[in-house]
Symmetry: C3
Subunit: 135 residues, 3 copies
């Protein structure tokens, strides 16, 4: 198993970037037919999620919903002033495992995998590991 | 490794359905003794979680808590009107990995695995992949 | 693959305990060089997350943010009175998969792995499974 790094350049303080094609490229390179694709976020103010890619308003509404859930300012003490980003990252999560079937990511029809930036813009990374599972 | 599909018929707009027995059946069929059970949700308005199965009021309270967190209506633009469901699905998550020890799911005493419907009723699917891990 | 149990004694109703070193010890014992470290929470009122370890105010702010999101009292029916803990656990999640590269957990620079207690103090456990992945 080889873990590879995907570089992601984000452009706003908060945004979701569709990284599905980037991960599919790693899968094609790995040549795995059946197994698991693990995706890992090595940052603390960005998370990973899956959601709809057909209507961009879905991602817009998720960001708006998260902004209502976690106000940017509040009863926070962390001096960097980005506590909201740390909280949102933990709400979305840091690892995902996606099925690999017949050499493809077995995502649902409307699903994409999103890099969730909550404290950008920054140069970021995501780790991808694909393992063939006998059976 | 063989990924299998579990079909789930949901009956309400929002509900949690205990799919632990369905996954245990797949594990028995796979005959794996020690390894990992990966569960994957291929939808964007339903999620996966684990929680208590002893008192049904726990699931009821989680659904009530999520309804307070994410109002059904609000400053949303997605024309289908189910943005709350997309947000709740991302809050619960789309993949889980559960230990397999001595041929069983190593869930905690009070744990069950739940299909979290947020925009039903619908015919849904869950993917289950079980892999033996040598060691 | 051998799943091992880490025992965690929590000291407050809500707190995050950094278990990174405990998991790294399991990794050293397993002697795995490249693969996946799976961490699993067998409880229903405690969760797992990753976040910053440099400034302790980050964890303090995450706990404060979660307390605002999910009030301890409310329209809850579960007789044990800890529904807020069940909801917070589902928001953080119950499983994490972390890359193992060159014999180490490939966490980001500021990342630690946290046991998230929401209904302590209690004696708790976490399951850790490390698998070498050929490739």
């Amino acid at each position: 198993m080889k873990w590879t790094k995907i570089e992601v350049r984000t452009g706003s303080r908060t945004e979701f970037i569709d990284i599905t094609n980037r991960i599919s490229e790693e899968l094609a390179r790995a040549g795995v037919q059946n197994g698991i694709c693990s995706v890992y976020m090595p940052h603390t103010t960005a998370g990973l999620t899956i959601n709809e890619n057909a209507d961009p308003d879905v991602v817009r509404d998720i960001l708006a919903g998260l902004a209502r859930l976690v106000a940017a300012a509040g009863d926070f003490r962390h001096a960097e002033g980005n506590s909201d980003a740390h909280i949102k990252a933990s709400l979305m999560g840091f690892s995902l495992t996606v099925p690999v079937i017949d050499g493809c990511l077995a995502l649902g029809t409307w699903q994409s995998l999103y890099f969730c930036e909550f404290d950008g813009p920054r140069n970021r990374q995501v780790l991808v590991g694909i393992s063939e599972q006998a059976g």
